[in-house]
Symmetry: C3
Subunit: 288 residues, 3 copies
């Protein structure tokens, strides 16, 4: 059996050491990293993957797309798929995890799922237009719950909701503006779950607004740099009861995120046809 | 015994994923790839190879030169050899396969050899001034046959023939111009073998001209992108009888090319003194 | 147990092949190399090291800093240490060996130590303001001997001595100018040991001046390119008696240097907290 090889395509100027180390810890034998990857320079790399090994060994090569810019990563994945030759089964599996957005979103929603029945959960996603927030909202919507996607402006929230409705037919998702603190209580009204996925340094949910939400059961803050996005949640909270609400901080979600990342990379080598974006990684994580 | 390490020097902006994967499949334990390699920046890399391991372990390090530009690769190989210290046996083995030209040419001539006695074969090489075509013509001439090297202009064909005569004393090689379709019949007259190694997208030998060649026994088309360089040959032809002529297409030659590539990389580690260019790779391939 | 991973940070435009090969020969399983590393772009790489593995596995990741510019390497090591989170024990071990300066200086002083009691040795270090010379002088001073640090100008020698006195309290070190050949005899007066660590191509100690030093017992020339820095010493001298003085040339020191380099890289993986600069590598070498 041929050695496993991960072709690591990074859209940044240097390939992520984080992603290389996790690849090894996933059991990959060789990681070949490329930086500055764009849709325009990826063809030869894809052809190198599909034209070197025979059909029965193509599942021993796979592609991982990373980097700090999620949109750039999505464009590279699209180009990668275009340059593979699916009708002739000349494909290798590919995974997207730019900025860790997919594995983080999956870990957060999995954490919520341990306490809530997602199909009947009402959620508020703060920072919902960012790369992690969009994925969190999409996963919650796909599980059938009612989702409020919060952003500072209603226009941006609405645009993100439309993208999710296109991906998830029948999604019960609505945009909410949470630009001023007076928006908070209404947005939280009736919610079982709040997930904050905003930029570092912004307090998205102050304590006094959170206290207005009497139905809240779980709160998850994905901000890794103090101050917390949800005031009162600690970085290391991992299912901690805080005044009757189950709390998770970024580090508390991190352990599961790492396990999911490793399991997803390992799963790439089970066939030569997997495409692992957020929904597929969520399905994988459920089976861990 | 020390691990095997292949220092992969690529003249392109990114190191070839193809060459890295094949290196692993050749049994190499570690591939260290460099891009943008030129004769001017290669010295430290060569010294890193020859000054790190003792004499009895130098054969566990080797250099592979690749990239899309064959002339650039040849210049790097020359610089690599200059920076090694042969009198003190401070050398490592080195292989050139820019653009796959050497392994492709060897695989094509090996395919012809399965049907023809090369020493008495009369051949026409179309696209004979390109990197693959020059190597095909040189191998055929070295085997003692009569070779016609075809190009659109006689001047360019003549220049390529002079280079081959310098490398192969006594080579029976002549330039032919095949710029217009009326040149075809004369160039093919008496030929047992035609190999097309032109640029993608150019039909070098239309069917109606090929039909004038009553002596033709084998035709090999190395063009990997339709339309075929030899009209009527299919990409996957691998010894297929087409109207009494044995036909090979690019994919039909490809399996042997991959085997030859892997065997050549593996052979680098048999001593610290091998220099594998097209003639040496041909000799290796004969022994597979 | 997780695989060992060395993150190789090189300040040059291409990562050193020398350092990559030696890393493998030290037993490292995976070497991930970065070029063009500066204090400004190293944070994400350090975070990739410390945030991927749990506390019990952090010693299986380490950082090696190299490149031709020792000052640039020192600045990168400082930045690397700043971005680790020592209070939380989120650290990995780190080694500096830009230009091979640390391992070369250690090997030279270890060679001298085989013949001399360093605590009572009087030494002259020629080329004492360069990266290797400074480290040699510092090691000799730390061992308690009397050190003369020679440079062409007294000012530069004095500045280097001040740096060493700051690092080694109570160091018995004095600057000497050796700009003209008439300075030589006084600088050598009473010395047991002379180590030349100057730039290639400069004869720092002509034979007729050396002959004035009646007390000289050991002379070590670290210049790898003829002419020798100490006239009469051959590149391959390794404890050779030359007119009553034990002589070492660059190649004669080289074998020990390679062993020390490999041992130091291997030692990085014994804990997650080692910082290997010249003093720590010297201590390691004493135990080989």
């Amino acid at each position: 059996m041929k050695d496993t090889i991960l072709i690591h395509l990074d859209t940044d100027a240097a390939p992520s050491a984080f992603d290389r180390i996790v690849a090894i810890d996933s059991g990959v034998q060789h990681v070949f990293s490329y930086s500055g990857v764009t849709p325009d320079n990826v063809m030869a790399l894809v052809h190198g993957c599909i034209f070197t090994r025979g059909p029965k060994d193509l599942h021993r090569t796979a592609i991982f797309v990373g980097g700090s810019d999620v949109a750039a990563g999505e464009a590279v994945v699209a180009a990668v798929r275009k340059h593979m030759i699916a009708p002739a089964r000349l494909t290798v599996s590919v995974m997207l995890d730019s900025n860790g957005a997919n594995t983080t979103a999956v870990a957060a929603v999995r954490a919520a799922n341990a306490y809530l029945t997602l199909g009947t959960t009402k959620s508020l996603v703060l920072g919902g237009t960012g790369p992690v927030g969009q994925r969190v909202a999409r996963l919650l919507a796909r599980n059938g719950g009612h989702v409020r996607l919060g952003s500072r402006t209603l226009d941006k929230a609405d645009a993100a909701c439309r993208v999710i409705r296109a991906a998830v037919p029948g999604a019960k998702i609505e945009p909410v503006a949470v630009g001023s603190s007076s928006d908070g209580p209404a947005a939280l009204m009736g919610c079982d779950l709040v997930i904050a996925a905003g930029a570092a340094g912004a307090v998205l949910l102050p304590r006094k607004i959170r206290d207005t939400a009497k139905t809240l059961k779980v709160m998850i803050d994905l901000n890794g740099v103090p101050p917390a996005g949800i005031e009162g949640v600690e970085l290391s909270d991992q299912g901690k009861d805080r005044d009757g609400v189950i709390a998770y901080g970024a580090l508390g979600v991190g352990g599961a995120k790492m396990k999911i990342h490793r399991a997803a990379v390992a799963a790439l080598f089970e066939s030569n046809e997997r495409v692992l974006d957020v929904d597929e990684i969520y399905a994988l994580a459920a089976a861990i």
